[in-house]
Chain length 403, copies 2
């Protein structure tokens, strides 16, 4: 079944008089693959306000079955997008979960109908701060409302309603994607048959808030940020956003991974230069990460989405974490990685303990990996095997036909 929303969407370029908005340039007048749905009603927000219009950009893979029972919602992380299993139209690089989603893969697109939605506040088609505020005719910038993971999930639910899906077979995602998984299971328990929060937590830790705050300060310290009004002024806080990305990138890897990858190897030189060029490969790598990020991400989106993660706290919203899941019939598989220090295993254990306290159906796997938080994005064989096992097992319980 093809969804009824527009099959091809074009993301309008923001005003770009000086050619500085690389993201705008990348998207301008180029068809964005996938679909867009503009919601019928204003989206009610956790902040108390509402937002309209809201457009939700999403991508799908596979076919929805007649019973509409084989849908898998994949939730992306902070800087992810809806292009799970195909090249990004922005960067041309492979989809971010091509090892997980596809024909014959753990999330088998021959069997499942896979949906991935660009999050609310994002910059790849779904309404966010770089979009034009219809009240002013200018990009929202900082007048965009602060949104939450709950708001993201609420916008996704509107899409799932629109697609006529009563219950998602599975909601799965890592990092902020895992937060969305937990939020889905807490807010709409009857609409989630099974849930896989990976490398996630029931609330953002003080240390993680701190790292996000550094990133935000780096962006807001850049004079080109212009108080958030850089798009209207044809400017771009590239240097601030780049520093924010560099900081974050370190937290996505493990010390061991950085050591194995780079150690103290020098970059294209035999000896130290006694200067401030990138002598070490790790410096060069980080600078590259920062530089390329600004071409694919919007600085204000970065502010809004990191804020949403910081605000995430199931205990605050539901009274306690267990209360969030009381009476749930969803089957959970909680996954962590040994070398992940951003969302360490103890955070996943807290999810499991809360689920156990309400006698939920939960399995928990801590996978041995030295690749840090980003392990969930990589083709780790044991991880893929665990995912395949859990998803196949749940599909059998759900009575879904084999591919």
């Amino acid at each position: 079944m093809a969804p009824s929303s527009s099959p091809i969407a074009t993301v309008a370029a923001a005003s770009d008089p000086q050619g500085r908005d690389s993201l705008g340039a990348a998207l301008a007048d180029r068809p964005l693959p996938g679909f867009r749905l503009t919601l019928d009603a204003p989206l009610q927000l956790d902040s108390g306000g509402s937002l309209a219009p809201v457009t939700v950009a999403y991508q799908t893979y596979g076919t929805l079955n007649a019973a509409r029972s084989n849908a898998v919602l994949v939730c992306h992380a902070l800087t992810g997008d809806q292009f799970v299993a195909e090249a990004s139209p922005i960067t041309g690089k492979p989809g971010w979960w091509e090892g997980m989603v596809g024909p014959g893969l753990p999330i088998d697109t021959n069997r499942f109908f896979v949906i991935c939605v660009n999050v609310l506040g994002g910059c790849i088609g779904t309404t966010g701060p770089r979009d034009v505020d219809p009240r002013t005719g200018k990009p929202y910038g900082l007048s965009f409302p602060v949104i939450t993971v709950g708001d993201m999930v609420r916008s996704q639910r509107a899409l799932i309603d629109h697609l006529g899906i009563d219950q998602l077979f599975c909601v799965i995602g890592g990092s902020m994607g895992g937060m969305q998984v937990l939020q889905w299971a807490a807010m709409y328990p009857d609409r989630v048959f099974c849930a896989v929060p990976i490398a996630a937590a029931v609330r953002h830790s003080a240390q993680n808030i701190a790292f996000h705050e550094v990133g935000r300060q780096a962006i807001m310290a850049d004079p080109e940020w212009c108080g958030g009004d850089y798009l209207a002024q044809g400017r771009q806080p590239s240097r601030g956003l780049s520093v924010a990305r560099m900081t974050a990138h370190i937290t996505y890897l493990s010390e061991q991974a950085l050591h194995r990858k780079f150690g103290r190897n020098l970059q294209d030189r035999e000896r130290l230069t006694f200067g401030f060029d990138a002598d070490f490969q790790v410096e060069s790598y980080l600078r590259y990460q920062g530089r390329t990020f600004v071409d694919r991400f919007d600085a204000n989106s970065y502010l809004y989405i990191t804020r949403a993660m910081d605000y995430f706290d199931l205990a605050r919203d539901f009274g306690s974490v267990s209360a969030a899941f009381k009476g749930t019939r969803t089957r959970f598989c909680v996954v962590s990685f040994t070398s992940d220090w951003l969302f360490p295993t103890r955070e996943s254990r807290a999810i499991v303990q809360a689920l156990n306290a309400v006698a939920a159906n939960v399995s928990f796997v801590e996978l041995v990996s030295d690749k840090g938080h980003d392990a969930f994005l990589l083709d780790e064989p044991e991880f893929l095997a665990v995912m395949r096992g859990f998803i196949d097992g749940c599909a059998e319980h759900r009575g879904l036909a084999r591919a």
Copy 2:
């Protein structure tokens, strides 16, 4: 015995036409307590060049005995200074090791003659990039040579020579201070009776280089940095330096310490504001750390000193870490803290293993603390007790009289 160098030094303020150089303002025309020595000869640098003139600012506590055998050299960390055991003349805050150094304390100033030197490249009296280059009459800025931990130690040795001290009883320090300790023991083994590298390493790890690189990029991304020429232009890269400090500060604490201190507590408010103000105490705390740092530290010094740490690598300089200590008669006490993730215990173990490989006299203590890397600056009772035990034991071997 009073050292013969000038007892009171005045740090000249850099040109400050717009009043933006807060560090300059703090130091301007105010007597800097302690001593300054201008070296007789140009300082030979690891980069191959030399530097002249070099002034070394230092502070002392206690009295040098007639045999000149009771001197303890305390080496400070990245942003430390020579004011170990007295209020900082810049900030008015207590000395950074007042729990360790003083009458009756582990480094007992009734018994020992304590020397602490502002490192080469620093900004509290010792020659660094904010000083005036005599060739141009302007602050060095980026024309200051890139220096190493070896260069720092070489400048300290010139001071120790000047003070007529053949052998230091003890060289002790944490973090970059610990690197200086190791460098002293490696370069001048006969001049160090005992050595205490705390929370240190034999080389800076890829992850630590990465964090430093983020800090440097934050500074250099600030347009007020002016290519390093901000002092001459009466400007100051406060925002960049502040972001650099915020990032670094996170690495000095443990996740547990941040959680215990702040958790997700809100700052002077009862609920989330749904904005980008500092909702969380940890955000407010970090912003404060960044803001106050720029009043006491020079941005270019930050670049040079982080670079020196990145370059630190005993194996590169001596062929192997063991080779650096071959034949040493120095007694070592290597100390690490369980929750230190910047210089984790495995880094200290690498020091110990190298020392064991050359049959050195070494003891090793891993202290249980949840306070992270900064534990070495705090009054941790077990740490203080271990230090007292080692130092007293060595003093007995050295035949030093009790206080």
